[in-house]
Symmetry: C2
Subunit: 325 residues, 2 copies
């Protein structure tokens, strides 16, 4: 396993790790990292594993793998309204390929630098390609945004264009055709998702519940509704219009957004009293913001379209229940 000392050179002294920065008292190289804890903050802890062939296609570039492995975890911190601070990396690799490792660490550490999150520990083992990252973040005490706060009457919003990642994957698998521009745009969304941390900081005081879209809009909205004991009605046109394509039929766009997942956009609910602050305050450097529906009493998700057709949505498909009208 001596060749694995190669791995250390890529991670033992990341450029953003200094002995005093970001509260790090002892970084990589002792039995555990030591972090100065801050008064008035709660800690956020999350972990996610990406396995080659399951969570990303095997041909995915090393730089994209490095980026995405951290991005999906940062997205969880964004969904809680927090700021990511420190992370650990457990990397399993079939062999120590210096070229692959250099690109992987570029993708990983450039995203880390961008969000000022510091690598504080890790473990490398030989095995099939798999990456487990744990991120620790902070949020002002008592201010973490949970899934459980949605109330009937709250408006439902989503950032960005849900569905692009699923369409990129469908194209990679030869199931659909895209124009060259779409292919490059959608694939960038699949491979280099941007955790919505900037937006999350603005949203934290305004939202009643929040989640990041990893399983698809339907399933993740379902998680909010289950935790909040509510129902929702969403408008098909609102979110299908987020994503315009000259080649993809509208039905495929709707399906990709509802059931595709892997978008890492924020889905959240906003009480009426905060709507004007949200819409007036939404900033130019943020991604797009779309109001897609409303929280209701009851359970389940109903979707309407412009022709007045209502459908019941489930995480695994949808059923017309009113298509005779």
């Amino acid at each position: 396993l001596d060749e694995f000392s190669l791995i250390k050179q890529f991670f033992s002294a990341p450029p953003d790790t200094s002995s005093t920065g970001n509260g790090v008292l002892v970084g990589i190289g002792d039995d555990a990292a030591v972090i100065h804890s801050e008064a008035g903050k709660d800690l956020l802890i999350t972990t996610d594993t990406l396995i080659s062939g399951t969570h990303f296609p095997e041909q995915t570039s090393a730089v994209a793998v490095g980026h995405k492995a951290l991005a999906v975890n940062l997205s969880d911190i964004a969904a809680m309204g927090g700021q990511p601070r420190w992370f650990t990396l457990a990397l399993s690799l079939p062999s120590a390929d210096a070229d692959w490792l250099g690109k992987f660490s570029d993708g990983l550490l450039s995203l880390a630098r961008q969000h000022a999150v510091t690598l504080v520990g890790g473990d490398t083992t030989r095995g099939p390609l798999s990456i487990t990252i744990s991120v620790i973040g902070t949020v002002s005490a008592g201010e973490a945004v949970k899934r459980s706060g949605a109330q009937p009457g709250d408006a439902i919003f989503v950032t960005g264009s849900p569905g692009m990642a699923a369409l990129a994957l469908a194209e990679l698998e030869g199931k659909i055709k895209l124009t060259d521009t779409e292919k490059s745009d959608f694939r960038r969304k699949l491979e280099f998702p941007r955790p919505r941390l900037l937006e999350s900081q603005f949203l934290r005081p305004l939202v009643s519940s929040m989640i990041d879209i990893s399983d698809g809009l339907a399933a993740d909205l379902g998680h909010i509704l289950a935790a909040s004991d509510c129902a929702a009605i969403i408008e098909q046109d609102s979110f299908s219009d987020c994503l315009r394509s000259s080649t993809i039929p509208r039905g495929s766009i709707v399906n990709a957004a509802l059931y595709g997942g892997d978008d890492y956009e924020l889905l959240f609910t906003v009480p009426e009293k905060h709507l004007s602050t949200l819409e007036r305050g939404w900033q130019k450097e943020f991604t797009t913001l779309t109001r897609i529906g409303e929280v209701m009493e009851g359970g389940g998700i109903k979707m309407t379209d412009t022709s007045g057709i209502d459908m019941n949505i489930t995480p695994h498909g949808y059923n017309h229940f009113n298509d005779q009208r």
Copy 2:
């Protein structure tokens, strides 16, 4: 992947997770756990991966795998003088075998309960058996014990009987024979290492440096000496006498202790002014304590035996340099 909902039943509501206990504000089930951070404490963060066939023999029982995956991480927190508080579990499994999972979670969660450490997040994926655990601990601000504090003149101590784990592994691999009692004792040490957390709390104010033995006494003492810029002299009889066997030749015991690893005992250095407090205060419920040598000026490790033979020790073997005298 629907059968993986099976997995959730074993971990979603561990008995030691309550909404108010141990500072946990939000446990498993949201995008991230939320933890109440305490004033006057530093955080400790560590992560370790165990892969089947690499870090434990494939035939290892599920309860032992669960125990050991957490124990090796708790041992890192012990080596820093801290208390483990929360952990995340990333579990990769070839299939969702309810019997295996039940035993794995028994081993994992009973050790967690014993040390009041709370499972706050996780991720389960399909793949070859591999377990990555991250533990977050706390220690009084500024009190974490590093590897770098050893000074010439400090005494070197070790807990327990280093070498047992390596001998158990050698027996499993058919390389040596043990009596039935030894087999069972040594194998328990290999499969159910006890993190020395109790001892660590007593040791924290007394020691100048500390590490847990995972790579073997020679390599791990080498880590302390490198970080502290010192040398050491150790007495072969002191640590080889820790481990008595009716079947194993003394040379094999010495080799197992020096180079075997996987012991998870504490190795530490103590300034002279604290020696009497250490030796008078060592408690009955603690494991055994053995003084094995002394920190010196310079670099490297020298070993002496009763016949007066001195050897230079390296992490990968040792050389007689003085056997003509």
